[in-house]
């Protein structure tokens, strides 16, 4: 194991009753990588993310982050170690103004460690982060109640909450689903920028064209198992992946 492995998933398994949601999955992510996770619906991608971030406890297996065993730790401790994740269904604090959503990560022990920050000061930091992510400050978008914003904004608000936590590893669960093409086109360069600045990103995505533009490695899952791992082009050429992901041809 080299030192620059930021996340190591060792033979992770999760069963819900008799269903194998994730089955014996191993994965190594090196610092600075941009890893895509793809697979058909129900193949265990979201469960894998929930296992890594502590929202679901694994049946067996281990998760190591920077060499430290984080298996079974509560989600808030894992987040404070520097793993931030978005939710598939864009979960936000819908009754608060958009920028107040970021007050929560800015109050977390992780961010407090980096800089002090008083009441009021955090508001400015929050609005700056949102402005960078395309919440137009001049038209008062950051001040609107989160629940009244369009879906694309909610997805980006979810992302902004992660960025506010100053993560080292960012896990995106179908960030682009439900986003308009123009929004995807605007968000993609931001992700590339974060990646260039040294952020390690794991991205679960169904929009393959966009994913392959940014990801330098892709892992494919099917029925809870890892069936392929490698550079995007090579992986998509594999017959097994095409079968699982695109379906087999119907004989006429």
């Amino acid at each position: 194991m080299t030192e620059d492995v930021i996340l190591e998933v060792r033979r992770l398994t999760k069963t819900f009753g008799g269903i194998m949601a994730v089955c014996d999955v191993s994965l190594e992510v090196r610092r600075g990588e941009f890893v895509g996770i793809i697979g058909p619906n129900g193949s265990g991608k979201t469960t894998l993310i929930n296992l890594i971030t502590g929202f679901v406890k694994p049946t067996s297996g281990k998760v190591l982050y920077k060499g430290q065993d984080i298996t079974g730790k509560p989600p808030y401790e894992i987040a404070c170690l520097g793993i931030a994740r978005t939710f598939q269904m864009a979960r936000t604090l819908h009754k608060l103004p958009a920028f107040k959503n970021l007050i929560v990560p800015l109050c977390s022990p992780r961010v407090r460690k980096f800089r002090g920050g008083k009441y009021g000061e955090r508001d400015d930091i929050a609005i700056d982060i949102l402005d960078d992510l395309g919440f137009e400050r001049d038209s008062f978008v950051p001040y609107k109640i989160a629940g009244t914003l369009p879906h694309g904004y909610l997805k980006r608000l979810d992302l902004a909450r992660c960025i506010a936590l100053r993560p080292e590893l960012l896990i995106l669960d179908e960030l682009f689903s439900g986003m308009a093409m123009s929004e995807v086109a605007a968000t993609l360069p931001m992700l590339e920028k974060f990646h260039r600045e040294g952020l390690t990103i794991i991205m679960v995505e169904h929009r393959l064209r966009e994913l392959f533009r940014v990801a330098n490695r892709v892992m494919v899952m099917n029925f809870g198992q890892k069936i392929a791992d490698g550079p995007p082009q090579k992986v998509m050429e594999m017959e097994e992946v095409q079968k699982a992901y695109l379906g087999t041809e119907v004989e006429e």
């Binding site: 979960r91 936000t92 819908h94 959503n101 007050i103 929560v104």
Partner: protein
């Protein structure tokens, strides 16, 4: 309106230069008064009422209103963190018994038993509820509902803390003014204190937990620690009310753990409108005097009380306070469709 033409109601904000949570740009003293009066008037009235009602039966009603107001505020605060409590009687009883026992067994004077009852009662309640903060929704509520009933039974069967007779002849307030102004002062402090807390960064986390606790966890915040802190604050307010009442009655018995101290504050919040704290206080200042005014009705009192409550809820489901607030900040007019 001419026949055949359809109209609809339109609501417009009253003209004021700026009105928002964070920006204050005031143009004139008129605007200043517009924002200040809804706060200043009730405060002034509350401070004057003990003087106006001094020596009458209604002074006592004012005191009870404040006590139930404190419990209603305590409920509303827990609710704004997403903890739906059915056990305000637990907070009330803990404070009442803590202060009563210190006074009865150790002979502590009032100015020590009330603060000690507040802190001690709050600590006991927090310790009892912390193991169940992981429960959500109705599961948490059920535990809070059971705990005060459990303690009432324990006191009865084990004959501790005075058993069924209660603790008698506790110290009285040196003057009636102290009791009433302690109650009024605490009510105002809790009302504006809770409002302030929920507007600050700390409050954003609490409101966030209510909205979606998984998001708050994903943002690296230990929700259980924040829930415990909110329970402590809410319990302290409830326990203070209990301690205050103990010395007002100069008696503490199992009745302080009764369902009344859970249901009435809850009804007050629902009537006044949850989420604003002002609604909780307003609700108690309507319900408690109403229930006293109906005393003349004899046996029909509770039935009539219930009918009025149901009628009010059906007419104004948003709560009286939110209705008044809307009418104050907006005006309605009919516009042609």
């Amino acid at each position: 309106m001419a026949e055949g033409e359809k109209y609809r109601k339109e609501r417009l904000d009253r003209g004021i230069k700026a009105r928002s949570d964070t920006i204050y740009v005031l143009a004139s003293s008129r605007d200043l008064l517009y924002l200040l009066m809804p706060r200043a008037l009730p405060v002034a009235l509350l401070i004057l009422l003990p003087i106006l009602l001094h020596g009458t039966y209604w002074e006592k009603v004012l005191f009870y209103s404040c006590i139930f107001g404190l419990l209603a505020l305590s409920w509303d605060f827990m609710n704004s963190v997403g903890l739906v409590s059915l056990g305000q009687a637990l907070f009330f009883g803990a404070g009442a018994y803590f202060a009563g026992a210190l006074n009865h067994y150790l002979g502590w004077p009032i100015f020590l038993t009330i603060p000690a009852g507040t802190i001690g009662g709050a600590l006991i309640c927090t310790a009892l509820l912390v193991p169940v903060v992981r429960l959500r929704g109705v599961y948490f509520s059920i535990v809070t509902l059971i705990l005060p009933l459990l303690f009432a039974h324990l006191i009865e069967t084990l004959e501790i803390l005075g058993g069924t007779h209660g603790l008698l002849s506790l110290s009285a307030y040196p003057s009636g003014w102290i009791a009433i102004y302690l109650a009024v002062g605490a009510l105002l402090l809790a009302l504006f204190g809770f409002r302030k807390i929920l507007d600050e960064d700390f409050g954003m986390i609490l409101r966030g937990i209510r909205d979606d606790d998984r998001v708050v966890m994903a943002a690296g915040v230990n929700i259980y620690w924040y829930k415990a802190q909110s329970i402590f604050l809410a319990a302290a307010v409830g326990s203070f009310a209990g301690a205050l009442m103990t010395h007002y009655y100069q008696f503490v018995g199992r009745s302080v753990l009764a369902l009344d101290y859970t249901i009435l504050p809850l009804a007050a919040v629902v009537l006044g409108g949850p989420g604003s704290f002002a609604g909780a206080a307003l609700g108690s200042f309507i319900l408690v005097p109403l229930s006293e005014a109906l005393r003349a009705m004899g046996g029909l009192r509770m039935a009539l009380y219930g009918l009025i409550l149901i009628g009010a809820l059906a007419a104004l489901p948003e709560g009286i306070f939110h209705y008044l607030q809307r009418r104050y900040h907006q005006f309605e007019r009919m516009v042609k469709v």
